[in-house]
Subunit: 340 residues, 2 copies
Amino acid sequence: MTGVQRRVTRDEVAKLAGTSTAVVSYVINNGPRPVSESTRNKVLAAIEQTRYRPNGIAKALAAGSSRTYGLIVPDISNPFFAAIAHAVEDEIFDAGMVLLLGDSAESKEREEEILSIFQQQQIDGLLFIGTDNHPHVQTMARAGTPVVVLDRIDEDDLAASVVVDNIAGAIAATRHLIGHGYTEIAFVGGPEGLSTSEDRHAGWMTAMREAALEVNDDWHLVAPYSKAGGLDAGRRLLAQSRLPRAIFAANDQQAIGILRVAYEAGIRVPEDLAIITFDGTTDAEFSAPPLSTIRQPIEEIAKSAVWLLLNPDADGSNRITCQFELVLRRSCGCTQEKNR
Amino acid sequence: MTGVQRRVTRDEVAKLAGTSTAVVSYVINNGPRPVSESTRNKVLAAIEQTRYRPNGIAKALAAGSSRTYGLIVPDISNPFFAAIAHAVEDEIFDAGMVLLLGDSAESKEREEEILSIFQQQQIDGLLFIGTDNHPHVQTMARAGTPVVVLDRIDEDDLAASVVVDNIAGAIAATRHLIGHGYTEIAFVGGPEGLSTSEDRHAGWMTAMREAALEVNDDWHLVAPYSKAGGLDAGRRLLAQSRLPRAIFAANDQQAIGILRVAYEAGIRVPEDLAIITFDGTTDAEFSAPPLSTIRQPIEEIAKSAVWLLLNPDADGSNRITCQFELVLRRSCGCTQEKNR
DNA sequence: CTGTTAGCGCCTTCAC
DNA sequence: GTGAAGGCGCTAACAG
């Protein structure tokens, strides 16, 4: 109906309340100076009446803080990262801040571009899930912006980080498979160069070796952390002369792809092929059969990460390791009945 | 090594280049005034040398534009919304803007809070996927901020919107099932009050009636748009005395849940129960069996939405309807062979 | 307790 | 083609 309505500024509120602009600030921010009850009420009324909303940009410029955090993920359409983003957004929102989302599409250049833009937007802190090592993030950290690296870390990083022990998780998963009596266990891992890929691989090898089982190179496949990646790896595995009795897939998405290959080929899971995974997203919970998995505590990871962001000075333990959980479902052979 | 390093400002660049700050602005923004080649080079060199990065906040304040768009989704961990967010982020990034993400967690209050914060952050435009009708978004639109509503729309909205024809899509899906010769077709719909739920429901009814098929109330289940919702609906369906021969599920997530129920109960899909869905996310592509679905053109939706945001004045057709696509896979009974 | 005022870093009109 | 200067809306000293 009415056209564009100019935003009301603090001056108008002050005028209406019959006070100075400073007092309006004091009321809005509860400080840094006290305000008498009566004038506070007048200001509040004026704010109400004018439907005044402070300009966050101006505030950010003057205060030197944008109340904005950045989150960079390799691909928001990956359920694991989406779950993290969901939890992180929640935490950040609760802290009264806003979330800037960057999707690097697994590209290093893109990552740097996003970082540069975030920098220009004066973010107060960065949550980072990288596609690789990330020297430029260090620059940011050194420039004084709190940085917390998630999921994929670089040992040499100075930045704070929140992760689960991927090696231990992979060992637990593989050991569990071994506990079932399986001896021929393949590993479908993620892209090379990622810490998660390497750690989960290392865990698998460790568990296999300690059980004196064959670590066959044909049974270590590399694939993207996606359903398509799992599908592809599964097909490559099928094309080989000898099939494993069980598979440890490095993430849920890959496992879903493998499940699909098994379905196509008429291979029963877990009767013919047992599967265990890593991540513990809902995808693993609702697949057919449901997937046994190493669950990462997403909420806790998000909470810890945001906490580190808000308390950057906590020198000492700026590296948090969250506990994973071995969730047993049908795919590994644990529950033989199909019904619940 | 070095501690916090103060940000370099335009003044330092100007000093180093031996010019005024205005000229620095001119070269950075390519205007609004021309600059001689020689001084431009000097400025560029100074920028390079000082590693100067303009302060986006200050720029936003002075220019009155934050180069920031907001996206509000009901739940970023829902793959459909995640896919939209992924595509939208891509488009927005290409346009040189940044994306502020808000996750309303399907809560109306939360939605309003996010909206308020976005407003304070001076977003230049809003992409909105609501949890319900949304009068407050209208306010924003009226205040001059471009708003584009996605997926779930309110017919009465003045705001621009991008959707697919949900009724037509649902009709196409249901007709396809009918074409297979199925006559007992159930509908698992989304939460009441959402336009997508209602339209897909309407489409199902229309197709059933035009084929003179029974529209049994027991076969219209309502459930959240999630895997858990589908699981629940599936179990409720199973508990009934008479089972349908086919199901049209209102979204992929629900279908995954239903697939899981079928698996548990030993019901073969599509031999005993045919399924068709709506959305066309990758979840539908990699399930076992793969799901026939009405695919929404995510990329196109995102492109259109961002286009509308960038060209808010395009009066007339500010409501874009994208074409859906019927994707046939195994779950409806189209492909009998399991392999590929 | 309240008012005045100098910035925050940048854009842009207006003189030169 | 270049420079000076007045804001953008708000914060936080610094004076009363």
